[in-house]
Amino acid sequence: MRYPVGAVASIGHRISGVLLVLMLPFAVLALDRSLRSDAAFFAISGWLRLPAALLAWACAHHLFAGIRHLLTDVGIGASLPAARASAYAALIAAAAVGLAFLAL
């Protein structure tokens, strides 16, 4: 089965959103530790690199695809060629952010 690129960007927006919600408890824990001077808590060890890259991808994809949805809502880039181009742009930019974190 072949999905149009817009559908891939859209389902990615949902998947990244669910991932981000599941990470919320850790975000609040990080807030707590950061205000308590727990520097050791923020030392990212090697095995955390993959989850960190996944989280970076989720943030980036949710942000880019979300901005794309908001613009489409107000009629910007709503034509099919423009929507396809922006879907590719969001997917590629988010993948680049994830890969950059992996390489970090």
Partner: protein, 111 residues
């Protein structure tokens, strides 16, 4: 408009998205201008009442946005109805606890 009205959720989701977008843009500008990056600088900044209030608004917008998103996903995919309602209840409770926990952290740090 009922509790699970799609239209209200739609508006709520987009308004909270705009709030979060504004925070991300502000954070990006501040970081670009050399905002606090050490733990000590961050703690001093977050202890100011206005900063704590801004962070609290951010936490609430995040939880509200998360709630509408999770609600949409669960309503779309989770069957049967009893399981769907149970999952929604767990999500609502969890998110409410996270909001309360964030408020407690921020207020106790600022006081």
């Amino acid at each position: 408009m009922t509790l699970l009205s799609g239209q209200r959720a739609f508006v709520f989701q987009r308004l909270s998205a705009l709030v979060l977008l504004a925070y991300i843009a502000a954070a990006a500008v501040r970081l670009a201008l050399g905002a606090p990056v050490t733990l000590a600088q961050w703690q001093a900044w977050a202890a100011q009442p206005l900063a704590a209030a801004a962070l609290l608004v951010l936490a609430l917008a995040l939880v509200a946005h998360a709630w509408v998103g999770i609600r949409d996903v669960v309503l779309d995919y989770v069957r049967p109805f009893a399981v769907c309602v149970t999952v929604l209840g767990i999500a609502a409770t969890g998110l409410a606890l996270l909001a309360a926990w964030s408020a407690l952290i921020l207020v106790s740090h600022a006081l």
